[in-house]
Symmetry: C2
Subunit: 218 residues, 2 copies
DNA sequence: TAGATTGTTAATCGATTAACAATC
DNA sequence: TAGATTGTTAATCGATTAACAATC
């Protein structure tokens, strides 16, 4: 829970994966796990796992390992999954609707309040239980409800301008699906980018590299 | 183009971002750029950019910088964006349809051949110009058309089993949206995971950390 | 030629791994 | 107590940054 110095970015990005694996272990009925066993399961080293957990004070017990319930609890607390943060979604196109219909926001620590779109055909409709409201009412909604973060599933070009506007009105984090770099880090507003094209290009490259390797081994 | 030793994972993951920025510069009408200017634009150091490019032989010119057309060409070649790879998509639910309708697969190096789903209501429909076929015809299609990679937008639980089947039938890469770890690296089959829940949890954590920092600075 | 900027080597920094004493 | 496994320090490894000679 306590953040001693600054925890490195590498550690922070492993936290969700730890959490996911611990949840799976719990679902499998396990009660405890050693760093060694968890390392094997996740393809890491036991040393790294102990180092990582000790960034937050260490919640194991010598000779026993880590209690799964406690670990889940602690990791959830570190990431703030139970702090009841709120989110709005901007852009109820195909991707936006896919998230509204399928994605479990609360499992990742957010209550999704509603969505906004400029298309009159969509306004008033509900997807996955979430209402789509008129973009004209966005500013007022933010002032009244003070959502913590915004999900950007709007067209690329609009993204930087809209992002700046949101931040000015008090939004404190962005989940950015637009593929556009928003350059807001300087303002202390974290942005998580889901760059789908980067991800697929990386796959393209890796497939090529794997093919080459296969040829060499012939 | 030549891969001297092994290029580090860190470098490979920066390639798509370089490519994206170079494409933007080209669209802005630029003809050349120095490592210094590109570093400022991207928030990196000039040194790192020169090191990265030199993993692939270095394609700059002293006293001039890097030619944008050449850089785009070379980066595209390194990632194999022009090698005409093919893809199929499994699972035409909301997320699958969002990709079919909106995502530009060819810009990331792949021709999307078609989609597959088990739902009779969807079979025969087209999204973004891509036909949805019956899952029953999947095996035959793979044998005839030998697609390079598969996009997994199927439900979580089915993923590991289906992934194994695909690999056995010759699929050589996976773009995995299921949130499930597939454990195929040992087989030499690259997997790019789009873990949306990990990404949002990370945002949750970063928002909390930024809030704390703000409080301290008061 | 003089100025600019690369390619490349050396120095620094940070993250991962190994080792082991502490302790349940 | 003996065995197991953590927390933590030290050693290693890799990636980033700095420096500078090469050269356009």
């Amino acid at each position: 829970m306590e953040r001693k110095q600054e925890v490195s970015k590498a550690v922070i990005q492993r936290l969700p994966r730890y959490y996911r694996n611990i949840c799976e272990l719990k679902a499998e009925g396990e009660q405890r796990i050693s760093s060694k066993a968890l390392a094997e399961r996740m393809g890491l080293t036991a040393s790294q796992i102990r180092q990582d957990f000790n960034c937050f004070g260490g919640f194991g017990q010598q000779g026993y390992g880590y209690n799964i319930d406690k670990l889940q609890e602690e990791l959830g607390a570190i990431m703030g999954l139970r702090t009841g943060r709120t989110a709005i979604l901007l852009g109820a196109g195909n991707l936006g609707r896919a998230l509204l219909n399928n994605f479990n926001f609360s499992a990742s620590g957010f209550e999704l309040l509603c969505a906004f779109d400029a298309n009159p055909q969509l306004i008033g409709q509900r997807f996955g239980g979430h209402e789509v409201r008129s973009a004209d009412t966005l500013v007022e909604f933010i002032e009244c409800n003070k959502p913590d973060v915004a999900v950007l599933t709007i067209p690329r070009g609009d993204a930087p301008r809209i992002a700046r506007g949101l931040v000015e009105r008090g939004i404190r984090g962005l989940w950015n699906f637009t593929g556009e770099d928003l350059h807001l880090e300087g303002l202390g507003v974290p942005v998580e980018n889901v760059h789908l094209s980067d991800s697929l290009m990386t796959l393209c490259h890796l497939v090529g590299a794997a093919d080459e390797k296969r040829e060499q081994n012939l």
